[in-house]
């Protein structure tokens, strides 16, 4: 079970969290202006890398705040956590 460092609460068990998929997939400013293909890309297409991946988590059974984490999908190591709206930090 992952030990996830919530940026507000500190390290907590994974069972307290809710996974929110890939981070930095912003809701389009004007969905009506998008083609079907562009909209489908927003809806259905997500990265699936082996390695560092920026993803969203919600501390659902804790402070109920959303945040982003950079996690290595191969090792499950969490390299960084940061708040929504902040840029993805550079991680080694």
């Amino acid at each position: 079970m992952l030990l996830i460092p919530c940026p507000w609460c500190g390290p907590r068990d994974e069972t307290e969290f809710h996974y929110g998929g890939q981070a930095h997939v912003a809701y389009p400013a004007d969905p009506g202006a998008l083609t079907d293909e562009e909209w489908a890309r927003y809806l259905f297409f997500r990265d699936n890398p082996e390695g560092a991946f920026a993803e969203r988590w919600s501390h659902a059974a804790g402070c109920r705040r959303w945040f982003n984490a950079v996690r290595d999908t191969a090792t499950n190591r969490i390299h960084a956590v940061y708040r929504p709206g902040e840029p993805r930090p550079v991680t080694g």
Partner: protein, 986 residues
Amino acid sequence: MTRAAAGGRIDRSRVLRFRFDGRDLTGHPGDTLASALLAAGVRRVATSVRFGRPRGIFSAGPEEPNAIVQIEEPFPEPMLTATTVELYDGLVARGLSGRGRLADRPDPARYDAVHAHCDVLVVGAGPAGLSAARAAAADGARVIVADEQPEPGGVLLGLPGGVPPGSLAPPGAVPSGSLGLSGALPLVSGESAGPPGAEWAAATAAELSRLPEVRVLPRTTVVGHYDGNHLVAVERRTAHLGAAAPAWMARERVWRIRARRVVLATGAHERPIAFAGNDLPGVMLAGAARTYANRYAVLPGRRAVVFTTDDAAYAAALDLAGAGVRILAVADARPGPNGRWRERVREHGIEVLAGGVVAEARGTGEVTSVVTGDGREFEADLLLVSGGWNPVVHLFCQVGGTVRFDDGLQAFVPDTPPPAVEVAGAARGLTSLHDCLADGAAAGTRAAEALGGGGSRAGTGRPGTGRDRQAGGGSPERRGGVRRAADGAPQANGHALWLVPADDCSTHFVDLQRDVTVADIRRATGAGLRSVEHVKRHTTAGTAHDQGKTSGTLVPAIVAGELGVHVREVGVTSFRPPYTPVSFAALAGRDRGALHDPVRVTPMHGWHVERGAVFENAGQWKRPRYYPREGEDMAAAVLRECRAVRGGAGAMDVSTLGKIEVRGPDAAGFLDRLYTNLMGTLRPGSIRYGVMCRADGMVFDDGTVIRLAEDRFLATTTTGNAAAVLDWMEEWLQTEWPSLRVYCTSVTEQWATVALAGPAARDVLSGLAPRLAADAADFPFMTWRDTEVAGMPARVCRISFSGELAYEINVGAWHGPALWSAVLDTGRVTPYGTEAMHVLRAEKGYPIIGQDTDGTVTPADLGMEWMISKKKADFVGRRSLTRADTVRRDRRHLVGLLPEDPGLLIPEGTQLVEHERLPAPPVRSLGHVTSSYLGAGLGRTFALALVSGGRDRIGDRIFAVLDGGQAPVAVASPVLYDPEGARRDG
């Protein structure tokens, strides 16, 4: 009896009586079921699953593949290994062939769970583990030591020099003895420079237990090692006490431990060699036989042959010889065994067959003779086998450690460790006691020092405390692959011998529990399988409940031999938790029965229970489904309740509906972005029905929205979706629209709500709320009023989910029971449950989100185009409603269905087709039935269904696929009852 007259770590002053396969037998405290059976001369313990071959005791630990038993008394437990069952008085067991039997009565024992944190968790209390724990504790770390045995010591318990439990050596003394894992000369009893190993272990564990920040857990098996050093262990607290177990004590406890660092000192398992008849009772791992002789004072046979590929078995041979077993010969597969060993066993008159092998173990029912490769036949009842030692890397690999094949050891050893994990001792391939002690101490120190600040109290130059910083640094194993024993004597390398070649390999067993032979593996590779994972699945080798602990290296080695590649290229199969079987009862712990899942009840629950309501689960809520009267079945009760609502007045407890207060200057704009229709134009005092979609345009939830004030709304949700809707709102607010000034608060449990429905509802309400102007003009549909009902402050909403004139009366949760009683005490109102509510709403074509929808249904599919605002620039999901897929004419629409037989109730989920007689498959499904009831208002059965292009098929005849033939149904509008809405205003 084959119990030696003296020695062993058993308490001979007490006799334990037990029964096995119908025979009354005895043993002593300190015995396992296996050692007691061997002491009683029981050779055949179980029967193999595929071939029905007799099987005996093969090992002395959790790696046992053969001796699988069923406990019958004091409480049935299936598929335990006789080698890990501690003997107790009154034990009744029998040998198994394959599956066991689960108890047919509830388990009276308690099971519990513990959550713990520590700086350093040490897995295993053998020499390496105890040294690690001592070193880490000395550096100030909070330490937990978990070990599967009833007493500490691990392999030391099986060494000679057995002394009664309880004798302590001076703390800190260095133990003596040979682990028997390698070529280090065994310091047999009497020659030791230090105290016997078991004494040292007991003393060290006692010393550790006295420290306030150290916890030693015996009888505790770490079964899972997960990310972030989260480990799960099972502690067996009372099973070894049998019927004498105190009822107050949990039988087992699951420990969930979060450790900052972990030291894996899990030891090594001896492995067998594949040869003909290697499964017969009497064939035993050499180290196991040594343990039986030394620890349990049991002679597993009288005349023995030893078959080995390394020096380990010599120590076993000598100990057994010393205990009175006649060792006829040592067949050593190596051409030139260690001269000192040969010398030593010859002193005991034991013949060594250099380069020799055992070709076959013979006997019916058990070993009676052993045939060596040169054709000689030895009359023997015991055959000791040692094919080398496999480090126990299960936990290491579970958490992501990688292994490599060590040519010196001829085994897979830990390579790259996962973060914050150390491996020490035999678990990483070390073979001498001295090395294991030093390695454990070094690992313990490294673990403590890695925590930072832990090393301040560290001593220096403490005996047995290594100072290596680098994982594995300085270990004998890493020094160019040449291992040296403590005394400097060079050790022989392991010798690769996996199987003794033969034309017929059909009794060369590899996985004893699954009855997999070399012949089976050859068939698999012959069929073209090259991956060891595929061979595993094809042959089932390694899939039994021992998970291939003895076959785990043998299988890839034999596969490699067949493919003509090195075993390192074949590799090992994945190691998955649990390391040893865990009972479901232990995992469930206290989360059983009423505590399985939290139960939520409304303030009026007591009344429902008192009146005999039949409940249904809605998420965690208990909701009255119907209130049967004397002699009524469900159908009769529901019909009566529906008629009461259609003909007079009914009341329902709807407190479970989710209620979320949405508040703030931007609340209206926020709701406009989430609901498909306009909420911003709603006036305070009014109510609007709303639907929410996911971004993909599929309906997610529905409910009413009440505007309480300019900046304050109350949104209701479906009962089961309340938490998901709150999550949804918070997610958008936090991640996409953080600038909106909106707060969402769940108030579901702050309110008790009673739905009052039926043509008489207004009269009833007026009687209860004399100050409320209740007529249709003053209190129109979809508005709300604050007033008093039965003297209680109440918010009354005029909304209807039945098509009848209806109200929802909200009061503070505390007043719920009083309101409910007041409504029913009028004598004019019938309580109704969820089933009647479902019938009433379905007659009106109101969908239940989650029953009539399944995440693939758009508002338009439900016939709710009118709910989609044309005025708003956007709402979540809007763009998806014009995708090519969502504007298809043949999408599945919600329609009504009227069976031609008005008494036929079509089961929900039934498939719908165009054909009266089913053609050959494939048959296109038109859709399926989502709701189906006997309608009181309609006076017949009806259904709701999702039907392809359904609105274009209204009036068509289609067919429901039932067992025994197709039933014709007419497609209809989903609004079957009172389509003009005449009843809404009473």
